[in-house]
Symmetry: C2
Subunit: 353 residues, 2 copies
DNA sequence: CTGAAAGCGCTTACAG
DNA sequence: CTGAAAGCGCTTACAG
């Protein structure tokens, strides 16, 4: 004899069975104080037995509780088009949970200016938010901010990059090492069998450089672990202006004849531009991120592969994790690694960021 | 002077402004009959001006309306593990919209038996469903069924394969041609530059064979259109038992030395098994679908690439499209092509089906 | 064609 | 510590 009362039992029925008022049932349901241990136990038992599932619609309709989430990510600029996608994900999630009484407020910082990051953090601290989504680009500043949140017990999710041991709710983003490793795997398949590969790191900001090194590490380790004959060279380009990159590439490409160039971030489009201008067609080019510039070079065959990690989904899932944690009380996976997608000119049309 | 009444105006306020009762407002809101044109116009004008957005929670709470969806897809068997994923997607969507008063009932058929498909279709017809999700494997039988639904104006979505011109709500699934095209693109990158490739179609059911041919077409056209020197051969294996496949492969591989084998469906694991048993390591192997067997051969390096098309998402989105159409009244994209994902042994861990 | 009332399953003050 | 009542914004009969 099974009971089938999913969806049909409510506070009223529980109250009846427990010989209390629905107000009391509500108190234990929502962990509020002011119920004797005895009646609490009795009610909990009934809830358990009935497998009671609250009606979220009634709950939402009756409740006047509002939650406010803050996000702090880099602002979108020509240099950082990448951040358009996470922002879109955030806004999409915000729209979806708006009716559930959640307000999402977005703050931005300048990737080239730690000061703006601190400013944003200060504003958020003052704003008394219930949950925070953060792109913790600057390590020291992020940690200081996070510790503050910890004290106030404000849940916090990281997206895009992690500071292990400091995320207090979850991290949602790429496994950088593995994405480098995968890139190497692709390179390994490319003809010719024996080849020379150039790794290119382009980054001005020293803090961001870590990320690139992590990818480079994965890339290198692949070849080591697979006993490859691939010959690896690398250059670090610490200025992002085209003239500078051009000069560096000129120098490097004069030194040797490469079969593959692996650019460790989205600036692969700059290298593609250089390839196009210099009519270089026999070097395979691999880089990162589904950005308009990159896709254009993919289309015109200058870029061969792009590795992408669903930036929009990072923002979306970040907000949703806060919601799931705070509203639905779901348990959240500590590390949520994004898929590592391989984009070519024959599948980019169907890619969903 | 802007009004900011999003979320604050309700039927009560509209009724007050229109000098009618909220019952009448409700009637025009839900397109019910029994309102004079004059008052209807008046109310619509106010709704428009106020940019009224109904409260979905209140609506859901008060409404007793229930909708029932039916799904008809192949049953999961050892031969058709693939269908586990779409089913999971369907069940996940069902769980999410259950609270919205939607009941999803699943029907299955045997891919090797058209009769079971007809049976399922008949049951669904008799069941008076409000929306249907279908994997239209058997063309004639599907069309007959679909025409019946059309008459009754029951919205219908196709997943996994399309019968163009007959889907009445939308198609959600792969672009088969393009997935073959992409596979060829990958093959083209593989060393050696000049190579011999064998296409393998394994399929017992004549109706399903079409799908494979469509992929083969994309695969072939890529090389034609790109003036490739790749030499293509193909075999059709019309029995799916291992002994038969083994024999066919024996014959074929004795004829020539191939660099790449492209299997046009998930049966690539059978070919992988053959490779493993015969210690074939120098032929690159490409096939379809994120199935346990295939992934195992990917891990042990027998399979090099798998092309996947998010089967779970197909089921999920299929149900959600019915919901969006029937409940939210959203407009639905006619053709929703899945991403074409490239899976290797370095990114399968992070793949979400 | 229109209105007034009850009720969906919760939460929120308020009273004791 | 507990209960009774009002109300969230809709929909659903029912009455006229």
């Amino acid at each position: 004899m099974e009971k089938k009362n999913s969806g049909t039992v409510g506070v009223k029925e529980i109250a009846r069975l427990a010989n209390v008022s629905i107000g009391t049932v509500d108190r234990v349901l929502n962990n509020r104080v002011g119920v004797s241990d005895k009646t609490k136990a009795k009610i909990l038992k009934i809830i358990e037995e009935l497998n009671y599932q609250p009606n979220i619609f009634a709950r939402r309709l009756a409740s006047k509780k509002k939650l406010r989430f803050a996000t702090l990510i880099p602002k979108v600029s020509d240099e950082t088009k990448y951040w358009e996608a996470p922002l879109n994900g955030i806004l999409q999630a915000a729209a979806e949970i708006k009716d559930f009484g959640i307000e999402v407020i977005t703050f931005f910082f300048d990737q080239n200016d730690k000061g703006t990051f601190k400013e944003g953090a200060t504003k958020i601290k003052a704003g008394e938010f219930d949950g925070i989504l953060l792109a913790p680009m600057f390590e020291d500043e992020s940690i200081a901010f996070i510790e503050g949140c910890k004290e106030k017990k404000i849940p916090l999710v990281f997206i895009n990059s992690d500071i292990p041991g400091h995320n207090n709710l979850c991290y949602i983003g790429p496994n950088l090492y593995q994405s480098g490793y995968l890139s190497a795997h692709i390179v390994n398949y490319l003809s010719p069998a024996k080849k020379k590969t150039l790794i290119v790191n382009i980054s001005k900001e020293i803090d961001l450089h870590h990320h690139l090194l992590r990818k480079e590490e994965g890339f290198r380790n692949y070849f080591e672990q697979n006993g490859s004959t691939n010959e690896l060279t690398k250059i670090d380009i610490q200025q992002t202006g085209y003239a500078h990159i051009q000069q560096k590439l000129n120098e490097q490409l004069a030194k040797d004849k490469y079969d593959v160039v692996f650019v460790t971030n989205s600036r692969v489009s700059t290298v593609a531009k250089y390839f196009e201008e210099n009519n270089i067609k026999d070097i395979k080019l691999i880089g990162y991120d589904f950005l308009e510039d990159n896709i254009n070079y993919l289309k015109n065959k200058t870029i061969d592969f792009l590795v992408c990690q669903k930036p929009q989904e990072q923002g979306y899932k970040g907000i949703m994790s806060l919601y799931d944690h705070l509203v639905l009380n779901t348990s959240i996976e500590k590390e949520q690694f994004m898929p590592i997608d391989i984009i070519t000119r024959e599948n980019y049309q169907y890619y969903s960021n």
